[in-house]
Amino acid sequence: MSTPDDKQPVKKMSIIVSRGSLDGIYPALIMANGARMEGIEASLFFTFFGLNALANKTLDHLKVSTVGNSALNMAMPMLGMPMTIPFPTVMGAIPGVSAFATHLMNKEMGKLDIPPVREFLELISDSGGKIYACKLAMDMFKLKKEDLMDRVDGVLTVGQFYEESAGAGTHILFT
């Protein structure tokens, strides 16, 4: 029996992670883990500020970005308030606001059984997902492989990342 072309399954997700805030990282981790749970291959390529989630010194302390985030009203229900209450973006710059938003988000994610970043990376790695760091960004940020968490499978150039993503049924996603 043949499958129509429009029903060809996704075989692999190659996800590029370019942001380093907590809210910038989590969607990619959730999509990668979700792929593995469906039997879809997954690889994560951390570049630019995304490396914040791989560096041992920073990955356990990622913060929600509150400056320039005009959608923070979304977090109001975490405080028992309606999501239509605006959160003035200027308040995001007040010391402690980002830490507080981070605390709230971590608490809510814990309730949903979403692991902290380090454990999440370990989970994805255990499930067969691959974790890569971008060579160019490593050079730019003066990072060495030994500065990164131990589950990193390699430091790749852009070309190597595309090679790694080869194959029909691979989808490349930039986050």
Partner: protein, 103 residues
Amino acid sequence: MNKTIAGTEVNVNEEGYLTNASQWNEAIATAIAAEEGIGALTEAHMKVVRYLREQQAKGAALTIRSMGKSGVVTTKELYDLFPGGPLKKSSKIAGIPKPVGCI
């Protein structure tokens, strides 16, 4: 709808998950495992299946994270035992509903 699995008539949904966990038995598990391409069920598979059924009976939400922390199986082992969908396939074999979470 009804389906006969391993000689027993059971209620299943459109994806083939049992809708009544009490209709399950080990012969049904074996038949579903074969259908899902898992092959013969070993004691390691059955440990996972029994744990899933216990958790389901308690009303616990099943996630890949909670399975890895259960002490019954590691994440790696779970992926090796049920390739192509560790939680989905093990749940189907265990005769419990398809997990609805994203984690």
